[in-house]
Symmetry: C2
Subunit: 133 residues, 2 copies
DNA sequence: AACAGTCACTTGTATATTGAAAGTAACTGT
DNA sequence: ACAGTTACTTTCAATATACAAGTGACTGTT
């Protein structure tokens, strides 16, 4: 039997496995895409939304909070009147570069039709107002 | 189960971004943990279940199907009477090593309390009958 | 001053995915 | 015959996601 008398553990923190722990932080469908956008120079809520995958705004807001709370990004006000924030990668966040690079390399090798880094870079720049695929 | 009876955009295939496409394949909480286990020499359904993160059996079954359908793993019968399968990484799956390594390195650097590769290796071997966290 | 427009969210609410538990099928070994 | 093992499948409540619409604080235009 499991010990039942304890209080509820807030986050069982899956285990001391660095892979499992990392996945708990950014192992979802969207987090790394936001981080990718930050690498590509995007900074604001609106810019993240314009990316071709079209992240829902509520999910984006939540992910930004999570990434901030885990120290991967931080925000700084870029204007005061209505306070608006730009998001930036911390050192911790920037060190996710190798993780993304490994995934990009794998994708380029094993998923036909994926674009190279520079092609994606181009696509990111002219980030469309189009809602269509 | 419901079937998609209406218009069927079966998999919009998010975009030609290799990162987004990779995430569509293994960007969830469990897939890479199963792949980790395969790297650690685990092969059977029961062995995956015994890993310390305790993946639910229905999720495990689904992930194994998905990983097989995407060519990351394959299965081969290891006995006939009741046909039972052992799962193996394909070349495509083995090449996820660098992705996991990058994540492990990041976790070890930025998540306090995570174990090194060799410590995890040890833990994997004596994969417990313990149900306790 | 009134109104459209922008930006960064927030709030509802369907829908989809997940997780925990229990059940099933095909055996083996006692 | 019956318990045990292995590999799942089924059920269903809980959680997460997606989509649409709305809000608040402005700016710039008429």
């Amino acid at each position: 039997m499991m010990s039942p008398s304890r209080k509820t553990p807030p986050k069982p923190a899956r285990l001391p496995c660095p892979l499992a722990s990392s996945l708990d932080i950014f192992g979802d469908k969207w987090s790394l895409l936001v981080i990718r956008d930050l690498f590509f120079g995007k900074k604001t809520f609106g810019e993240f939304q314009k990316s071709p995958e079209h992240i829902p705004s509520n999910i984006l807001a939540e992910r930004l909070k999570r990434l901030e709370s885990t120290g991967i990004i931080r925000k700084s006000a870029y204007q005061q009147k209505p306070v608006r924030y730009a998001y930036l990668l911390t050192e911790k966040g920037e060190h996710l570069g190798p993780v993304m690079k490994a995934m990009v390399d794998w994708g380029n090798k094993y998923i036909p039709g994926t674009y190279s880094f520079s092609e994606i870079m181009e696509m990111m720049k002219k980030n469309s107002g189009s809602q269509n695929e």
